[in-house]
């Protein structure tokens, strides 16, 4: 029966049921993924981010919140120029992490 409306999908991040395989795997080879303080330097300096939604800070969060598909889609925009790695105050090897995500 068509009521003219339907259930809205939940906007919650379901932490109990998300799949963190990629992030956990990443953590093994790059322990520094845990040290991000979300300052946003990477996003603001991003060459690709100048034209697109590319944001490494959010990408890391996506992986931590089980949004792997979104993260992988975002990576496609990356030019690998390395500016983010250069400005990161925590010295995170961002380029390596970006490349490792898709392994």
């Amino acid at each position: 029966m068509d009521f003219g409306f339907c259930l809205s999908p939940s906007s919650h991040v379901k932490m109990d049921s998300i799949d963190l395989t990629t992030f956990n795997r990443l953590k093994e080879t790059n322990p520094d993924v845990n040290t991000c303080i979300a300052c946003g330097s990477c996003t603001s300096t991003c060459t690709a981010g100048n034209f697109t939604e590319m944001s490494f800070r959010r990408l890391l969060l996506m992986l931590q919140r089980g949004k792997e598909d979104e993260a992988k889609k975002m990576i496609q925009r990356c030019m690998l120029c390395g500016k983010c790695t250069l400005v990161c105050p925590r010295g995170i090897n961002i380029r390596k992490i970006l490349l490792d995500i898709t392994r």
């Binding site: 520094d32 060459t47 496609q76 925009r77 030019m79 690998l80 250069l86 970006l98 490349l99 898709t102």
Partner: protein, 574 residues
């Protein structure tokens, strides 16, 4: 009586020799067969082209026989290597010459097949079979003694590598150690056998030779037969396409694992990382340890210093790149958004300046360049004033050529649209890819060091000389990659005093910031930087000058003195 012409102790040697010859022949066909078609064509053509043919002859003698490059690196090392290799070569040659002059001890006439077969081992064991003339006897003994002195140095080097100016040597496995021991004992055994004629030593000598030859294909000594082929292939102008096939395979076999690259590699400041140097990379490839080879290829900073110091000129950086290309990261890049990117610059300037991503983070360089171009009265324009597109080099470094092409194409379009005649770059990383991959016919590509030097030389830019003592750091991708060593130094001579670093030009040490490496951690990079700074501070300069925004940023963190870009220095002196 044939018994003196033939003795069973020659058999081990003959077997070994037969094996190694067969192996090399098969290997030769295999390598040539693995070359891509166009490369093979190039190779055949190079053999008959006078220019390359001459280069082949020169290098075959210079490198394979006289080891000029090792002599240049370190005379003791040169002597050691030449003593063994050239000495051995000489006793083989002289032995063969003797074959035609000497009389067998038993006056037996040997003909046909028997004679040919005899040739095979006769010169190797001649003292057992023939009477010698004093001149030859002296020559043979002389070279044998020379070889033994070489071996003596080698033994000392094994105990203390410092004697030949080498800090670290390659660590070998069982096979390599074993064959080395065989090599070391061959000549003493021969000497004893020749002087005493005790049968047991003839046997030992022959068996030693067999061990050496049978193990040769599986150890680093394979470089002895392969290097010649490698020289020919190199002069044909080939590039390694796959990490373990064809040309690359020839290089893998040609690597003598001498370990000169270990000390040279900037990463070796940390002992843990000395295992990530080219010597080990080639070893991993030879042992078909793909996972490790891949890891090392991705750890390498691509500074090219190992290539610069390599006595065999193994192009390990290129092989590492081909390794990266062989298993690229799967990102499925989507750069379709580039279509809509517009340049912020207007048309109609003769000089187009492209700062590049890194220079955006060092605004001083951009500002200095602006000042310089204005002072020189140039008609210039900035291509990426408002932030531009990456040049594509970092993408290439990750082995993703086709993805990089998207950026290359877009930048090419923007540059061509500007109508400029000259493109000036501040970043050597960009410079390399612009020089190698961009097709910008009619547009001159210059790094700003070259550009500034030209402006000063043709009088467009007037600078004053100060009394500051500078030391210049050669950025890897400007120096070793393109040999731009003199222009920056000339510029600096014009504005101040130039002091020498401990390691300069092709030996300069990477700053540690390199985009080439994916795996190095910040801490490992810091160690490299500190070492490089120490090297630059050798003659106590007042300021460190470099010509790369990445070097500038990297050094600034660790340097005790001010670090500046060359453009900044010049702009201060206008």
């Amino acid at each position: 009586m044939n018994q003196y012409i033939f003795h069973p102790f020659v058999l081990p040697f003959v077997l070994g020799m037969a094996f190694v010859l067969t192996y090399c022949l098969v290997g030769l066909f295999r390598i040539i067969g693995q070359l891509p078609k166009d490369d093979r064509k190039k190779f055949w053509r190079s053999l008959v082209t006078p220019k390359t043919a001459w280069a082949n002859i020169r290098d075959l003698f210079g490198d394979c026989l006289f080891h000029v490059k090792i002599w240049k690196r370190n005379p003791i090392l040169g002597y050691m290597h030449s003593a063994i290799a050239f000495g051995w070569f000489m006793i083989i040659v002289i032995g063969h010459v003797m074959l035609f002059t000497l009389k067998p001890l038993q006056d037996v006439d040997v003909h046909g097949f028997a004679r040919t077969f005899t040739n095979f081992y006769y010169p190797i064991f001649y003292k057992h079979f023939a009477e010698e003339t004093p001149v030859f006897a002296f020559l043979m003994d002389f070279f044998l003694i020379v070889i033994i002195t070489g071996i003596f140095i080698a033994v000392v080097k094994k105990i203390y590598s410092g004697v030949v100016g080498v800090k670290r040597v390659t660590k070998f496995g069982f096979a390599d150690n074993m064959i080395r021991f065989a090599l070391w004992t061959i000549f003493p055994f021969r000497l004893i056998a020749e002087k005493t004629n005790i049968m047991a030593f003839w046997w030992l000598y022959s068996i030693d030779l067999m061990i050496f030859m049978c193990m040769l294909p599986f150890t680093r000594y394979m470089h002895i037969p392969t290097e010649a082929l490698f020289i020919l292939l190199k002069h044909a102008g080939l590039k390694p396409r796959e990490p373990r096939k064809g040309y690359a395979l020839a290089q893998i076999y040609s690597c003598p694992s001498c370990g000169l690259c270990i000390d040279a590699c900037p990463m070796s400041v940390n002992d843990k990382n000395s295992g990530n140097t080219s010597a080990y990379f080639m070893k991993k490839l030879r042992n078909a340890d793909d996972a490790e080879a891949k890891r090392i290829a991705e750890t390498c900073m691509q500074c090219g210093k190992c290539v610069a110091v390599c006595p065999v000129s193994i192009e390990s950086c290129d092989i590492k790149m081909s390794q990266r290309e062989a298993t690229p990261y799967i990102i499925n890049s989507d750069h379709s958004y580039l279509e809509n990117v517009e340049s912020s610059s207007s048309v109609n300037s003769t000089v187009l300046y492209f700062a590049g991503c890194m220079t955006q983070l060092t605004p001083k360089i951009m500002r200095s360049m602006k000042k310089i171009m204005e002072a020189a009265g140039e008609n210039y324009e900035f291509l990426d004033k408002d932030g531009g597109i990456c040049c594509g080099r970092p993408m290439m470094l990750s082995g993703k050529k086709s993805e990089a092409q998207a950026m290359i194409d877009k930048n090419t379009e923007l540059i061509k649209k500007s109508g400029a005649k000259k493109l000036v770059l501040s970043c050597p990383i960009c410079y390399k890819v612009f020089k190698e991959e961009y097709k910008l016919e009619g547009i001159e590509i210059q790094h700003h060091t070259q550009y500034i030097n030209e402006l000063i030389k043709n009088g467009k830019l007037k600078v004053s000389k100060g009394d500051v003592n500078y030391v210049y750091h050669d950025p890897c991708e400007l120096g070793r990659a393109f040999g731009v060593y003199d222009e920056p130094r000339e510029v600096l001579e014009n504005v101040g005093n130039l002091r020498k670093a401990k390691s300069e030009k092709e030996l300069s040490i990477c700053c540690g910031g390199s985009l080439g490496s994916f795996n190095l951690t910040q801490q490992e990079r810091d160690e490299i930087t500190a070492n490089s700074v120490d090297d630059l501070m050798y003659n106590h300069p007042d300021e460190i000058v470099t010509a790369c925004p990445l070097c500038l940023k990297t050094f600034s963190k660790k340097s005790p003195v001010q670090v500046k870009d060359i453009s900044e220095i010049v702009s201060e002196k206008i």
